[in-house]
Symmetry: C2
Subunit: 118 residues, 2 copies
DNA sequence: AGTATGTGTAAGTATTTGCTTACGCAAATT
DNA sequence: AATTTGCGTAAGCAAATACTTACACATACT
């Protein structure tokens, strides 16, 4: 990452790792090391993702001593939500299988991607 | 663009040009030249964006003679919508809590902050 | 038939992205 | 005081991304 000018929410959630970070932090705020423990990549990599997420306001950091706790603050998702909502009627007119689809989504089990890391 | 393996919807809508293409095509299906006329970039650039959008199913092409009409088919946005919906309560809860708090300390009846939300 | 139009695609390029390792520094622990 | 822990950030790199121009090739028009 260049870690510069990007604080666009659409861009932020385009990366699967960042979406997963959001999912983890929503469930439980945690510090950066704990967060990184869930992934198959280095701690700095996660740190950089978190930086992007904070820059666009999806995560806030609460410093506690030397630890930095990441909490979700998803208001910025409103921008995406609003963009989608404006088209929702358009596509729902044409789609009768929406509920089926949503059920399918919800039933997807969580995969354990990164078992043994430290 | 590399125009290869990417057909991820989150990635597709991360680009502002592609979001604009979707907006235009929803309003009115149009061929590629007409579409490109709306942008400050070359026709091939738009063609490549459209390719990505078709690959992830957000646009379908209807060939008419030598022209190719682009139509929106936004069902794939469900994936994004579903992802967002699962967090909606999370962030709206916090908004509601804030409003409750504000109303309490201000002793004011009925603010309209919530208008337009679901 | 010859030309114009609508379009896909290849090749080239600059920039951005997503990662790594290396290092530095402050807060906690010993 | 010395070490460990938690973390940010720089530098480097491969790959992806977003463009461009050049070209090929139908379909339509004359």
């Amino acid at each position: 990452m260049a870690y510069e000018a990007r604080r666009d929410v659409f861009q932020a959630i385009a990366d699967p790792t960042r979406r997963e970070i959001i999912g983890l932090v929503v469930k439980e705020p945690q510090n950066l090391n704990a967060l990184a423990g869930n992934f198959n990549m280095s701690r700095p990599a996660i740190s950089q993702h978190v930086k992007i997420l904070t820059e666009c306001g999806l995560i806030i950091i609460k410093q506690k001593g030397r630890e930095r706790y990441c909490e979700a603050k998803l208001d910025a998702l409103n921008e995406v939500s609003a963009w989608i909502e404006q088209y929702k009627q358009f596509w729902e007119q044409k789609l009768d299988a929406l509920e089926t689809y949503l059920e399918k989504i919800q039933q997807q089990p969580k995969t354990k991607k990164n078992a043994g890391r430290k």
